[in-house]
């Protein structure tokens, strides 16, 4: 049996008397890149919040790694970032705080780590810039650095590209794919951008309050159930069967 980094069984999330998520079951192998898809209100964000223990849930969630080896990139809060008085260096360093023991101080060796992750993502010149003075695409890279600086084994991203323009979005996707392939970083990526995520993720998880589909991209494209769900034309687009002709 392959080694699982994450296993989820019978996961339920309720809000009052409403079911947000019903009986979710899936598991993830080391190195998997799972794209979570689904319509608005399908519970995508709730699912990862449940995984990260940010909302209450019932059921079985097991990480094979330490919780502190999970990196998280939340949805962009543009308004808050614009006004917040902090430099890129200060913000990325917060990614290291969780692993520290009391009293927690950022040392010079931490700064070296912050700089090296910024360099890896090609934004080391932003170190002293204020978070409010950089673009949305740069902010997203900074927050990715914050998630990566503690060297996570699993990275969870909540619609990180929704505020980005298409070019920046593409380079963001490519960057993640590189991390996934070169460093065997496992990734869970929420997206409403089905066509793009389909090109990069290795597995697709389609959610609509319950788990509608979970499998590899090939299985997704071959699935009759998904064809019925999306209609023939859309599924073709998602699976890029003739996508290259358009590019």
């Amino acid at each position: 049996m392959e080694n699982k980094i994450l296993e989820v069984k019978n996961l339920f999330v309720d809000y009052g008397k409403y079911n947000i998520l019903k009986n979710i079951n899936f598991s993830m192998a080391y190195g998997d890149y799972i794209g979570i898809l689904g319509p608005n209100g399908a519970g995508k964000s709730t699912l990862i919040k449940a995984l990260l223990n940010l909302v209450e849930s019932s059921g079985y969630i097991n990480f094979d790694i330490d919780k502190k080896e999970v990196g998280y990139l939340p949805q962009l809060q543009e308004n808050k970032n614009k006004l917040f008085p902090a430099t890129v260096g200060e913000i990325v360093a917060t990614g290291l705080v969780g692993k520290k023991k009391f009293p927690k101080f950022i040392k010079n060796t931490d700064k070296v780590e912050v700089l090296s992750v910024l360099k890896k993502l090609g934004i080391e010149d932003l170190y002293n810039k204020r978070i409010g003075d950089i673009s949305g695409g740069q902010t997203q890279r900074v927050l990715l650095c914050r998630a990566l600086v503690a060297k996570p084994k699993l990275l969870i991203l909540d619609e990180p590209t929704s505020a980005l323009d298409p070019q920046v979005r593409d380079s963001f996707y490519k960057l993640l794919k590189e991390l996934n392939e070169k460093e065997n970083l496992s990734i869970i990526f929420i997206s409403h951008d089905i066509a793009t995520i389909g090109r990069y993720a290795s597995k697709m998880l389609y959610l609509d309050k319950e788990l509608v589909f979970f499998g590899t991209n090939q299985e997704f494209c071959d699935s009759k159930k998904m064809t019925e769900y999306f209609g023939h034309v859309s599924q073709h687009q998602i699976c890029w069967r003739h996508g290259h002709e358009h590019n």
Binding site: L54, P74, V97, G98, D133
Partner: protein, 273 residues
């Protein structure tokens, strides 16, 4: 030259020196906590807890001569109550603080009217009386302020991470709840200390104004904390000296000085942009 003489005269007065000394320490701790509170959208809590402290001081005056000491545990409890209600998500924080404020004011007023004897005392807590600070109060406010600043420095990274992004901090393994309670605890103590300077009605200005002023400068986080403390101390010194020279209440004069700095930095910020 007249004005310089008056300023020098003010500095030479022992009661002014004591006021400045205790005031500077309290101003620094209030303004530093203020940055965290403002960024966490919790600046109203200062105002709310100040109202609670009015009732607490009224109750304290019934039983002792040291009403501030008596008020500290009550105000801390009230601040924890606000957090508890926020956690349960049944009532939002604004409403909780609004209700708690007016309820405490009402309790304070009833006690004051029933126990007619200490109306004058209570009045001095409403508007502050830093010029009449006693030696023991001076020492207490310096020691407590220093402790608050030290605690903030020790927990600086946690406080910063939680202020910037609570969810990320939580995922990252920071005990966000504990940091929230710590911040509330420190704020409660600072407010009680600050009541001596500007009074319950004006104390939230020591928390909010310097932080907003510092935010206008658009610096990194550490510099913002530093500037917040700096503006707070400057406002305090200017406020006290002016209140001496033109004979106006010192608490109000400190608040006006704070407001002036805020307006100036805001205006300069607009010019730059």
């Amino acid at each position: 030259m007249n004005i310089i003489n008056q300023v020098l005269e003010a500095f030479s007065q022992v009661f002014i020196q004591k006021a400045l000394l205790s005031g500077i320490f309290i101003a620094v701790s209030a303004s530093i906590l203020g940055v965290f509170l403002v960024l966490k959208n919790m600046s109203l809590i200062g105002d709310g807890l100040a109202h609670v402290s009015f009732a607490a001081i009224a109750i304290g005056l019934l039983f002792s001569n040291e009403p501030l000491t008596f008020a500290i545990p009550l105000v801390i409890l009230a601040s924890f109550l606000v957090l508890k209600l926020k956690e349960s998500a049944k009532i939002n924080e604004d409403s909780t603080i609004g209700m708690l404020s007016s309820f405490s004011m009402a309790v304070g007023i009833i006690i004051a009217s029933v126990a007619k004897g200490f109306n004058v005392d209570l009045f001095s807590y409403l508007f502050g009386s830093i010029l009449f600070i006693t030696n023991s109060e001076l020492i207490i406010s310096i020691l407590v302020s220093i402790s608050i600043i030290v605690v903030v420095l020790i927990f600086y990274e946690d406080l910063f991470a939680v202020s910037f992004d609570e969810n990320f901090a939580k995922v990252n393994g920071i005990n966000v709840k504990r940091i929230d309670y710590l911040l509330s605890l420190l704020t409660s103590i600072t407010i009680i200390l600050g009541i001596r300077i500007v009074g319950t009605l004006l104390i939230s200005s020591l928390i909010v104004f310097p932080s907003i002023t510092a935010l206008q400068l658009k610096k990194g986080f550490k510099l913002t904390l530093l500037y917040s403390a700096l503006f707070s101390v400057l406002s305090l010194i200017l406020g006290i000296i002016f209140s001496y020279i033109i004979n106006i209440p010192s608490g109000a004069s400190i608040v006006v000085a704070n407001a002036c700095f805020m307006l100036i930095t805001m205006f300069l910020g607009k010019l730059k942009a």
